[in-house]
Amino acid sequence: MGFYLVQFLGGLAQASSLFLVAAGLSIIFGVTRIVNFAHGSFYMLGAYLAYTLAERMGGAVGFWSAIALAAVATGVVGVVMELLVLRRLYRGPELFQLLATFGVVLIVQDVALLIWGPEDLLGPRAPGLEGVVRILGRPFPKYELLLIALGPIVLGLLWLLFHRTRWGTLVRAATQDREMTAALGINQTWLFTSVLFVGSLLAGLGGALQIPREAVNLHMDINIVVEAFVVVVVGGMGSVGGAFLAAVLIGLIQAFGILVFPQITLVVVFLFMAVVLVVRPHGLMGRQQATARGAGHVPEAPIHASGMMGRVAAVGLLVVLAALPALFGDYALAVLTEMMILALFAASLHFIMGPGGMVSFGHAAYFGLGAYGAGLLVKHLSGGMVAGLVSAPLFAGLGALLFGWFCVRLSGVYLAMLTLAFAQIVWSIAFQWYAVTGGDNGILGVWPDGWASPRWAFYYLSLVLCAGGVLMLRRVIFSPFGYALRAGRDSPLRADAVGIDVRHLQWLAFTVAGAFAGLAGGLYAYSKGSVFPTLMAIPRSVDGLVMVLLGGVQTLTGPLVGAAVFHALNTEMVRYTDHWRLTLGVAIVLLVVIFPQGIVGTLARLPFFRRKEA
């Protein structure tokens, strides 16, 4: 009995930590609609700052002041990010700010390494709370009791802040209806800045409070941010109370889950999220939201088939690409091959994000399923490359068909997070099912057939398949199916009223996109010679998003340009500097500020490129 009680309390302590971080994220999203990837970085910053301050100041007063100061300082960093970067992006396409926050993640990682060094830093224990209390005879750390109390206290303070101050009223109003608040003439920029401060402060506080529990380390950002998103989405976006409930449930499920099935640690959170979202499409306490696109966003322009110029340019590009093997060596060809593969991957993601209006945070699942479709064929059936490249899109397409059925029932960030949940589930299967997938040690020996073995030969194969894939996706976008898909995105109400089954079309689109991502993944597997679960891990999905947004989600060529630019930056940075994350992060932030509609999206608005209205 005592054991279960202590396990229960442990779950609650974990829940409080999660809640602090998630509450900040939820408030920021609720008001600004920014999907803030940098939130985990602020958590990490809070921990590092608290460590340094606590070591400097020492003593009980020093310790608690350090925690408070670290939280406030982190809040200020959030404000700086808002003032310098995010502020310029509020009129960008949906989710565009996500890109900037991704840049900030990279910057903070390297800055933290430069300032605090590579070693994990074990901070002091909380003065006065070092020991344990006995609960039904079982020891339980005093500090964890403090954490347990802190969750509800912060929840209560936030409630007072939201319901007893004018600022809070504005925040709630903006959370419910951002356009309405704008129409009421409330100073939005000021509101957003202050919200970033409060949200980042909570992240910093959450991190700072960890120093008595864990060694501060450079992986804290990545380890917390995804879980914080899960808590926010399970609770219902923008609902702080929901976040609290979700954090408690997740904390307890983790605490008790490992008793029943210790191996489930990798996936339990995502399984839980998937179940919640399938049953409750807006989370536990969320309400249906006005769709995130709308006022503030420039409406997407009609698409046009390429004119004479466009066709000439496309053919010219293909000719140039076809001529490159004569000029370049193996490495350049390998990088170009990867670029083409990633361009197809980005195009497939754009297909559902742009025309389909469905954001995916888990598109790498289908890239990875394609790679495994090829890899498993090699490993278990000794299949050749041609068979592998056929099975790749089939495997991924079937996966997308299955998961898509659930996903298209949701919308907005909920849909995105459900795709993430499925991606993580697939990832953990690949990661843990050693007998079949080889686990995290992957599948080796996925080599091209003899004829495609030279780099130039494989380059041509990739050129044909990727260019073919991209052109086919483009063709579909211009087909009646593509138009109907966009119709469903533009106005679900009208689409339904003219006989278009929007969900059905989205499901098909999801499957098509999955299949093409799978083709890209299959090609990638043969280009690398090996398949690992990392191919379907979260960073790969994020890369896809970055490519699409960087190029311009509201354009058709944007994803291709985004893939090329991002991959070139990525590979070149690594060659030239140890601090490639810092430089890449700065580059992304600069690109985002210079091209606030994405590269192609912004260029297309320049007078020179603009298509005249007929």
Binding site: P299, E300, A301, P302, I303, A305, R475, V476, F478, S479, P480, F481, G482, Y483, A484, R486, A487, R489, D490, S491, L493, R494, A495, D496, A497, V498, G499, I500, D501, L505, V512, E613, A614
Partner: protein, 257 residues
């Protein structure tokens, strides 16, 4: 046979009867106005006809075939076109493409992944636009049109499905008075030349009395009057219901919620 026949239509929400045993019919080429004070059950009634709400009891027959409880998509396929109180068009498409989109759906082409959508039904779409006076703006993006023009596009979209019945929810809401007259005159011409039956709700009584062939009046979920405009206007019960609101007789402009 009447195009639309409604009988005994009933719906309640949580014990409150929103619509009680309403029955009426609309003939081809006829414009029937559905009016009533706020909260009379107009919207509920309307949404049961277009499939967004399933009725508790009663029947809705389109040319003799029951459509009660069917989905909006099915009902549209059976020949019921709609316009919305707040226009709903496809903002990222040109005006012409909006109409083509409806024609593609009408001709069951939307599972075609290969042919160029803009090359399909272009002439038919242009002809429809011409008929509503929007041909000159065919290649403009729908997202930038003036509101009155959007209403015309929506009308053309509704017509593109070759409907037998047109359901128009507050067709002139949000429009300037002069535009209202034009739009309703256009609608009246179109339905008469094509033999379409129209059921519309409307706040603007000028529009109602000018263009409706017949009027039905709802109050508290019940049908309290039915007949040609003059008869309804003279109906003491109707006058009583509308007394004080002024909207029955004055210029009740711009009453959008």
């Amino acid at each position: 046979m009447a195009v639309l026949e409604v009988s005994g239509l009933t719906k309640s929400f949580g014990g409150v009867q929103a619509v009680k045993g309403v029955g009426f019919s609309v003939e081809a080429g006829e414009l029937l106005a559905l009016v009533g004070p706020n909260g009379a059950g107009k919207t509920t009634c309307f949404n049961m006809l277009n499939g967004q709400i399933r009725p508790d009891a009663g029947d809705v027959r389109l040319a003799g075939v029951s459509i009660a409880g069917k989905s909006p998509r099915r009902i549209w396929r059976m020949g019921v076109g709609r316009t919305f109180q707040i226009t709903a068009t496809f903002g990222s498409m040109t005006v012409l493409e909006n109409i083509q989109m409806v024609l593609l759906s009408h001709h069951r082409n939307i599972h075609d992944l290969w042919t160029r959508a803009t090359r399909r039904h272009a002439d038919a779409a242009l002809a429809l636009l011409d008929r509503v006076g929007m041909a000159s703006q065919a290649s403009r993006p729908c997202g930038v049109l003036a509101y009155g023009d959007l209403k015309r596009v929506e009308l053309a979209m509704a017509l593109a499905g070759e409907p037998r019945l047109l359901l128009m929810d507050e067709p002139t809401a949000g429009m300037a008075p002069a535009e209202r007259i034009d739009l309703m005159a256009l609608t009246a011409d179109l339905v008469r030349e094509r033999g379409i039956a129209v059921l519309f709700t409307e706040h603007d009584m000028d529009v109602v009395f000018t263009h409706a062939d017949r009027i039905i009046v709802l109050n508290r979920g019940e049908l309290i009057a039915e007949g040609p405009p003059a008869a309804v206007r003279a109906n003491p019960h109707v006058q009583e219901v509308y007394l004080g609101s002024g909207s029955m007789y004055g210029h009740a402009g711009g009453k959008t919620p």
